[in-house]
C-alpha cells in the first residue's frame, strides 16, 4: 500500500497504525538478516508512536498527513535515545540526546519511525560497502549492491519494509540508490530541508530527502519535512512550496533539455531508457531539445576536493574525548590517534587525508580554491541552461546495480558512479530520480530530472509523467 493510501486509511480508522507497523516489522523480520538493511530496529519506540496515532484517531484528533506510516531513517539522522552510528565504529554505542528536525516533523505528521538504516560510513561511498557493519544487499538481487550511500533506506523501501524512508544526498546518495533499487528519490534544493540533526559529511552539499515507491508519496513526504528551521542558518526562509497539489500539472509546454554530459559514458541500456524518457515527455506535450553543458564534466574533480575538505573538518570532532568510542592511550595525542585509527574505515581516512591536503597552506589555492571556482562556473552554466529550458534530463547512474566488490578495488571507478548526480549538489539545486524501464538482467534503471532551486513541484510533475508512461 502506498504511504498516501495507508495514511488515508489510518485517518479514517480503517487500518490501525499498530497493524501497519506490524506489517512493516514482519517484512523487516523476514529479510533483514539476509539484506542487512536496518542497523537498529526501534520496536518499542515505534510501537509507542503507533499507539499514540491510534489513540488520536480513536479520540477524534487528526494525527496528520502521514498518520501511521512506517518510515525508515538513514542512520546519520540523530534520534534521541536511539543508537545513531553513521555506520562508523567511532560512534558505536552513541545515543544522541536530541532528535533531528526532519524526524520531529515526520512524527508531528503522524509517521512512525521504525529504525535506522545502513549507509556507507559517514555517507562516503556509492554502494553501502564502506559501512563498518557490513554491506546492504539489493532486495531485487542480493548479489548486487543497493547503491549508496543511502543504500539501507533505498533497500528498506524497495523491500517493502517501510513505505517511506529518508536519506541524505551529498553527491547523489539518494538518487543513485533510488535508481539501483527501482524507486523514487528526491534531492531537494539546498536549504529546503533542515540539516539540523544530520551528521555532517560535507555541509555545503548535504541535503536530506525522501525515498518512496511512487512520485506522489515522495512529494507528500518532502512536503512534510521541508520548510524553514531556525536551528539551521542555511535553511531557506521562504515557506516550503506546495508539491502534492501540482503533481498532475504535466509537462505540456515545458522545455526539456536532454544533456549529453548526463548520459556520456553510461551503459547502452541506460542511454536507451533516457532516450525513451525523452520521447515520453515529448509525447506528453513537452518540447525536448538536446544540449551540452561542458562544465558538468568538471564536477567530479571539484566535488572530490570540496566534499573531503569539509569532511576533514566535520569529522575532526571524533577524537575520543567527549562521546563515542575511545581507544585508551597514555597521552592525549596518542589517544586521539588510536581512536581515529581504529574508529574510521579506509574510505573515511582516504577522504580526511585528501581534504586535509586540499586545505593545507601552499596547496589551498591549487586545490580547494580552484574547486570553488569550478563550483561557481557550474552554477553559472546551470543558470544559462535554465534560460533555455525548464527541466534537464539525464541518467541517474551510469549502470544498473553492480555486483559486490566490482568497484571497491578502484576508488575512482566507484567515484564515477556519482558523475551524473554531483553537479546538482555543487549548484545547490534540485533533482529527482524516477524508475524508468529496465536494463541488464531485468534490473531497474533510473532517469534523472534536474531543475533550478525550488523547482521541486515542476520536477515531481515531470517525474509523474514518466511514472505513468513507464
Amino acid at each position: 500500500m502506498s504511504a498516501i493510501d495507508l495514511a488515508a486509511s489510518v485517518r479514517r480508522g480503517e487500518v490501525t497504525a499498530t497493524d501497519a507497523l506490524a506489517t512493516a516489522l514482519r517484512a523487516i523480520d523476514a529479510r533483514n538478516d539476509e539484506l542487512n538493511v536496518f542497523l537498529h530496529v526501534d520496536r518499542d519506540g515505534a510501537e509507542a508512536r503507533a499507539r499514540a496515532v491510534d489513540d488520536a484517531v480513536a479520540s477524534g484528533r487528526d494525527p496528520g498527513p502521514l498518520a501511521g506510516v512506517p518510515v525508515a531513517l538513514k542512520d546519520n539522522l540523530c534520534t534521541r535515545g536511539v543508537p545513531t552510528t553513521a555506520s562508523s565504529r567511532i560512534l558505536e554505542g552513541w545515543r544522541p540526546p536530541y532528535t533531528a528536525t526532519v524526524v520531529e516533523r515526520l512524527v508531528a505528521a503522524g509517521a512512525v519511525p521504525v529504525g535506522k538504516t545502513n549507509l556507507d560510513e559517514f555517507a562516503m561511498g556509492s554502494s553501502t560497502e564502506t559501512s563498518a557493519f557490513g554491506p546492504t544487499r539489493n532486495p531485487l538481487d542480493p548479489e548486487r549492491v543497493p547503491g549508496g550511500s543511502s543504500g539501507g533506506s533505498a533497500a528498506a523501501v524497495a523491500a517493502g519494509m517501510a513505505p517511506l524512508a529518508l536519506g541524505s544526498d551529498t553527491g547523489g546518495s539518494i538518487r543513485q540508490p533510488a535508481a539501483l533499487c527501482g524507486i523514487v528519490g528526491v534531492k531537494p534544493t539546498y536549504g529546503l530541508v533542515s540539516r539540523y540533526g544530520l551528521i555532517a559529511f560535507a555541509s555545503s552539499l548535504d541535503q536530506i530527502g525522501p525515498f518512496a515507491t511512487s512520485v506522489a508519496d515522495a512529494a507528500l513526504c518532502l512536503e512534510v519535512i521541508a520548510g524553514h528551521d531556525p536551528r539551521d542558518t542555511t535553511s531557506l526562509p521562504e515557506p516550503a512550496p506546495a508539491l502534492v497539489d501540482h503533481l498532475d500539472d504535466g509537462v505540456a509546454g515545458r522545455r526539456v533539455g536532454l544533456v549529453s554530459e548526463l548520459v556520456e559514458g553510461a551503459d547502452a541500456d541506460v542511454v536507451a531508457q533516457v532516450e525513451r524518457a525523452a520521447a515520453a515527455l515529448e509525447a506528453a506535450g513537452a518540447q525536448v531539445v538536446r544540449l551540452s553543458i561542458p562544465e558538468l564534466r568538471l564536477g567530479l574533480s571539484a566535488y572530490y576536493l570540496i566534499a573531503p575538505a569539509e569532511a576533514s573538518s566535520n569529522l575532526a570532532r571524533y577524537d575520543g574525548v567527549r562521546y563515542g568510542r575511545r581507544v585508551a592511550a597514555d597521552e592525549l595525542g596518542a589517544m586521539n590517534e588510536a581512536t581515529r585509527t581504529l574508529g574510521f574505515g579506509d574510505e573515511v581516512k582516504r577522504r580526511i587525508m585528501l581534504g586535509t591536503y586540499a586545505l593545507s597552506a601552499g596547496y589551498y589555492d591549487a586545490y580547494y580554491g580552484q574547486a570553488l571556482k569550478v563550483r561557481t562556473r557550474m552554477i553559472e552554466a546551470f543558470r544559462r541552461a535554465y534560460e533555455q529550458v525548464d527541466v534537464l534530463l539525464g541518467a541517474t547512474a551510469p549502470s544498473v546495480a553492480f555486483r559486490f566488490g566490482e568497484k571497491t578495488a578502484n576508488p575512482l571507478a566507484m567515484y564515477l558512479s556519482d558523475v551524473f548526480t554531483i553537479p546538482t549538489n555543487l549548484a545547490g539545486e534540485a533533482a529527482v530520480s524516477v524508475p524508468f524501464g529496465t536494463g541488464e538482467a531485468g534490473l531497474p534503471i533510473g532517469v534523472q530530472l534536474l531543475g533550478p532551486g525550488r523547482s521541486e513541484a515542476r520536477l515531481l510533475a515531470a517525474a509523474r509523467v514518466l511514472e505513468v508512461a513507464s
Partner: protein
C-alpha cells in the same frame, strides 16, 4: 630600556561579550557556574548540531567597532582547524579575511594614537584543568574539561604595531578596557579572563625596519603586561647585542619568576586550514541596523575626558587622576553640573573624585542639584570645606537637600556675625601671636584658623576667618 633601541609592540586583546547567551546556541553565557552545566548539542559540537549566530553578539561587536572608529563591513565566518580537547569540534569558528570591524584607532589619554587593524568575532574554547605535577597538559595524569565557556562570544581586537613602550601598552589596554566597558559589550575583568591580552614584541634601532617579533602569552594583569614587555624587549636587545638573532616564537610569561620562556617556535606553528564555515551564511548588517547600534552607543571615555578637562586650566597630574576616577565611576554629571552653574570646577572635581566616588552607591542618592547646592554654600562662605564635606557625606548616605542637612546640623549659625565674635575672642586670648601676625608673619593665620576651628568644632569657614583677620589687621 637601553638607549639606542626602540621597541615595537602590537597587542591582541580578546574580550568576552556580555551577551545573555552563547555565540551560536542559547546556553547561558555565565561565569562561575558548576562545570558543564551550560552546555547543549551545539556548544558540545555533537554530531548533527548546527550553529545559529547570536544577533546580540553581532550588535556588541558592532558597538566595539563604532567605539574604535572602525569600518564596519559585510563579513564571513571561517573554520580554524586544530586539535585541542578544549574545542568540542576541533575547529574554532572565527572571522578570517573579512572581519566585521577593520581600520580603526584609539586615542590614549597621553595624546598618543594607536591604530586598530581589526576587531573580529569568534567563539571561545572550553577550559581544561590538568591534574598532576606540571599543571600543564604535557605530563598531566588526568585532564578535566569544562565546556561552559565553549562557544562564549569573543571579539579579538588587533592593534597596529604602533606601541613604543611598555607603559604605553599598559595605557592602551587600560583605555581599551574603559572603552569596552562603556560600550556595554564587556565587563573588562582581566583576572577572570574575560579580557585577555597577548603582546607581539620586537626591537629595532630607531628608523630601522621591524625586527623579528615574539608573541607573549599569559598576561593576566596590566602589571604583568608591562613587566613582560619590558623583560622581553630587554631579552631581545641583549640577545642581539651578544651577536644572536631573535627567533619568531610564542613565549610564556611567568609572573612569579618574571621571565618569558619558549612555548613553541614558528616551525611548529599549526596550519589552521582556514576555510569558509559552510554552516553559516554571510553577515551583512544593513544600514538601519548599523545606525540603530551606533545611535544607542553612549559617549566614549576619550570624549568624556576631553569634556571634563575643558573645565580646568592647566590640569595637574592629581586632577588628571581625579578625572579618570570620575570617568571610571561615571560621575561626570556632577563636575559638568557644577561648572555650568558657575562654580569652581577644580573644587567640584575634587569633591566628586573624593567624597562622591568614596561613597558606595552614594551617587544613587545624591542629585546633581543637591551637589551644586552644597558647593554653592561652600563658595559663598556659608559652609567651611569641612562642613561641605560633611553635608555631602550625609546627602550621599541619606539623600535629600543640602539646606535640610545644614539646618539639622546647625551649620548656619556660624555664618558671618557669629564668626566675627569668635575671631575677636581668639585674638584677645592670643595677644602675642596676634602682634606677630600684625607685623607680617602670615604663617600665623594658620594658627588662628586652628584656634577658631577648635572653638567651633570645625564648623567655621577658613577663608572667612582669614578675611576677618585681615580686616582686623587694618
Amino acid at each position: 630600556m637601553k638607549s639606542g633601541w626602540e621597541m615595537v609592540v602590537g597587542l591582541e586583546v580578546h574580550t568576552e561579550l556580555r551577551t545573555a547567551t552563547k555565540l551560536f546556541c542559547s546556553c547561558a553565557n555565565e561565569f562561575g557556574a558548576a562545570p558543564n552545566t551550560h552546555v547543549c548539542p551545539v556548544c558540545l559540537g555533537l554530531p548533527g548540531s548546527l550553529p545559529v549566530l547570536n544577533e546580540r553578539a553581532v550588535e556588541m561587536a558592532m558597538s566595539i567597532g563604532f567605539a574604535l572608529r572602525c569600518t564596519i563591513a559585510p563579513s564571513t565566518f571561517h573554520r580554524k582547524n586544530y586539535f585541542y580537547p578544549d574545542m568540542p569540534k576541533n575547529f574554532q569558528i572565527s572571522q578570517y579575511d573579512l572581519p566585521i570591524n577593520s581600520s580603526g584607532y584609539l586615542d590614549l589619554p597621553d595624546g598618543s594614537h594607536v591604530g586598530i587593524e581589526r576587531a573580529h568575532m569568534e567563539e571561545d574554547t572550553g577550559k581544561s584543568t590538568h591534574l598532576g605535577a606540571s599543571g600543564r597538559l604535557h605530563g598531566a595524569e588526568r585532564s578535566l574539561v569544562d565546556y561552559n565557556r565553549a562557544g562564549v562570544p569573543l571579539v579579538e581586537i588587533v592593534s597596529a604595531p604602533d606601541i613604543r613602550s611598555a607603559a604605553q601598552a599598559r595605557l592602551y589596554v587600560a583605555e581599551l578596557r574603559r572603552v569596552l566597558i562603556a560600550t556595554g559589550a564587556s565587563d573588562g575583568r582581566m583576572e577572570e579572563g574575560s579580557l585577555r591580552v597577548d603582546a607581539n614584541v620586537s626591537v629595532r634601532r630607531p628608523g630601522a625596519p621591524f625586527g623579528t617579533r615574539c608573541e607573549i602569552k599569559n598576561l593576566n594583569s596590566l602589571r604583568s603586561l608591562q613587566r613582560a614587555i619590558d623583560y622581553e624587549a630587554d631579552r631581545q636587545i641583549e640577545l642581539i647585542e651578544d651577536g644572536g638573532t631573535v627567533r619568531q616564537e610564542t613565549r610564556h610569561w611567568d609572573e612569579s619568576t618574571g621571565v618569558t620562556s619558549t612555548m613553541r617556535v614558528k616551525e611548529e606553528a599549526e596550519d589552521y586550514r582556514y576555510f569558509r564555515e559552510p554552516d553559516l551564511v554571510d553577515l551583512a548588517p544593513d544600514a538601519a541596523w548599523r545606525d540603530r547600534v551606533a545611535a544607542a552607543l553612549p559617549p566614549m571615555p576619550g570624549v568624556r575626558r576631553t569634556a571634563l578637562l575643558q573645565h580646568l586650566v592647566d590640569p595637574t597630574d592629581a586632577q588628571r587622576e581625579a578625572v579618570e576616577v570620575v570617568l571610571d565611576l561615571d560621575l561626570d554629571r556632577y563636575v559638568h553640573g557644577a561648572a555650568e552653574a558657575g562654580l569652581d570646577a577644580a573644587t567640584a572635581l575634587a569633591r566628586t573624585a573624593n567624597e562622591v566616588a568614596g561613597a558606595e552607591d552614594g551617587a544613587d542618592r545624591l542629585s546633581v542639584e543637591a551637589f551644586i547646592g552644597t558647593l554653592r554654600l561652600e563658595a559663598s562662605g556659608q559652609l567651611s570645606a569641612t562642613q561641605a564635606k560633611t553635608v555631602l557625606a550625609d546627602l550621599l548616605a541619606e539623600g535629600g537637600a543640602p539646606e535640610e542637612v545644614v539646618a539639622r546640623r546647625g551649620f548656619t549659625q556660624l555664618a558671618s556675625d557669629a564668626l566675627d565674635g569668635i575671631v575677636d575672642e581668639v585674638i584677645a586670648a592670643n595677644a602675642d601671636e596676634w602682634s606677630r601676625y600684625r607685623d607680617g608673619d602670615d604663617k600665623l593665620a594658620q594658627f588662628f584658623i586652628g584656634q577658631v576651628m577648635a572653638r567651633t568644632r570645625g564648623q567655621a569657614n577658613g577663608k572667612a576667618v582669614v578675611e576677618i583677620l585681615r580686616s582686623r589687621r587694618g
